[in-house]
Symmetry: C2
Subunit: 400 residues, 2 copies
Amino acid sequence: MIEATGGGITAAEGFQAAAVSCGIKAEGPDLALLVADRATSAAAVFTTNLTVAAPVVVSKRHLEQSGGKARAIAVNSGCANACTGDAGMTAAETMAASAAAAVGCPLEHVLVASTGVIGLLLDATRVARGIEAAAPALARDAHAAAARAIMTTDRGPKEAAVRVAGRAGAFVIGGMVKGAGMIEPNMATMLGFLTTDAAVEPPLLRRALSAAVGDTFNAITVDGECSTNDSVFLLASGASGARIDEAAYPHFVEGLRSVCGTLARAIVRGGEGATKLVAVRVSGGRTAEDARRAAKAIANSLLVKTALNGGDPNWGRLVAVAGRAGVAFEPSRGRVRIGPATLFADDTVFAEREPAAAAHLAGDEVELEVDLGTGGGHGATVWTCDLSAQYVRINADYRT
Amino acid sequence: MIEATGGGITAAEGFQAAAVSCGIKAEGPDLALLVADRATSAAAVFTTNLTVAAPVVVSKRHLEQSGGKARAIAVNSGCANACTGDAGMTAAETMAASAAAAVGCPLEHVLVASTGVIGLLLDATRVARGIEAAAPALARDAHAAAARAIMTTDRGPKEAAVRVAGRAGAFVIGGMVKGAGMIEPNMATMLGFLTTDAAVEPPLLRRALSAAVGDTFNAITVDGECSTNDSVFLLASGASGARIDEAAYPHFVEGLRSVCGTLARAIVRGGEGATKLVAVRVSGGRTAEDARRAAKAIANSLLVKTALNGGDPNWGRLVAVAGRAGVAFEPSRGRVRIGPATLFADDTVFAEREPAAAAHLAGDEVELEVDLGTGGGHGATVWTCDLSAQYVRINADYRT
């Protein structure tokens, strides 16, 4: 049984958080510290961008050195510490060393993450002072403050947690994310932090995280961008006593996918300038990869996203994108559905159904489906948002 | 010698045009007819979209049947006649038959093109009446009216012509295009019509068109979209007496590339909501395909295009896109230049040069360069425009 519960990154037993302002951002909290009561199993997935920020390099190295163990995660917003050369590496290492000193753990048991402007060197002195101030303030009820401290252009904090009861016993999985633009994770400028009080050995924890991320964080797109800093971390304290072995694994992944899915959709719903959460479903693909590729192409199409913003059931744009997506597609056997209304099927246009489609588009949760007409049974779903004039204004003036 | 000259689609000897309103659009001219004095050599390139509009199917078939000969081209705006099934095919064939009757030529010597909303059936009766009205009005000075009749969301007509003098003699190449959105030709919702009074056999004409299109119309992008109707036609009347053989071919292609380049850049400059013409140059690519792919990815990036719109020299976004473009890239050896200012090189940030870059971005012609740092000697240039809130408004409300 999986049920939603309150809280976020500290909903699982064995974790505390703190949030402070350390002066990286002009105002507001900009540093979050997550600390486990003792060393935990740890897994992470990182950006596939070839331009990799310094904190990603440091966190990867620490996870390798520790063999998948961690005690603390330090996160700052306001500065991505990417494209900052050797000085940026030193700053990220200093950040980790500050947390290790404050918590009293080996350096390699600290993971770090940064988000914000690229090309700006992280002020390690300010961060170190912030970590010093945060350590004594660690508390279980600081989860919401932590979720707020990692925000950049996010409209609000994003948290989720579930309680899972199964054969292995009861345990909790919780987490928080940030991300609003430069979002097409694989991973994108999103940071995700997850904790559980189940006991999971590092190899199984890595496997579970990869599985859950595939059809949640990696199936969303705001603007087709993939950033230099994207990371999702998962720590397992074991404090609940529930032990995840191969038999309990599917249930654990199900719980993890539930939390990741909720958080991933929260990112899209809160996408820069977004007014709608859009599920793009593709069916009838010759292969699963074809279906995924077509769904991504539709979800990233400017013409589709602007039509959604205008509430226009312009299905022709969906067909046009499917045709250029580089996948097997039989237009004359294809179908397009917007909400309850199939607008195009078997080369026939059902214009009289457009009002029903327009009514669906007037809501803030939208579903589109394109059947590629190949007779293949493969499908995929990608979540995205509409593209508004507000998105353009936010990103035209981001640094001013 | 190649020099710009006045006029457009009728600048070359042997061609006349006419434009009328036939009631496809709510108002304004929406039908253009181009007629050669006699059958000419003809070549064309068409959309690579798997969703192919009826007029594209008909024009392809006619060119095959005629062995690369044509006498007339009929074009309507306001309706793409795409995704319209058998009825759409009949409408496109009726359109061609009307022109053949009006001009007095074999059916297969007529080419047709449509642009506008997808999924709307072309009213062949109105088009036929329009063609009947246009035929008696054919004139050499109607080129500007024709360029206006093929517009959809274009801000203005787009024409160009050059006079080429070489060993083969003197000849003219002229043309007109439409296109403002759904533009990433390969081909996109762009239509291009070119004429020359040089004498060129169909096989050589096809080769020349492919060569010229590759680094002009196929090197521009407004929004990364590729439409169902894109076509570029080239007719060669031979009326100048200049005969293009293998020896004269390079010079002919040079002239053709000049006209195509001018028209291609005019499309981007007039892109929906665009305020800047942007040349994206990529150097240091391991392969030419890598360079082209990185340039396209940068030119289509929402974050790059919105930063350009805001005049923000946010070079970090260029590095981030290069890193996710799926090409060989060495960030630590890469370079980013905006106008006169190199802002990032050898892992070093030159923040003090940002004012010079910002000043460059304040103009309406912008140049960006990213060196991929692989040591490879391959480069590519793609032209694009910025993305403004106006683009979103245009495309959110296109059909309303």
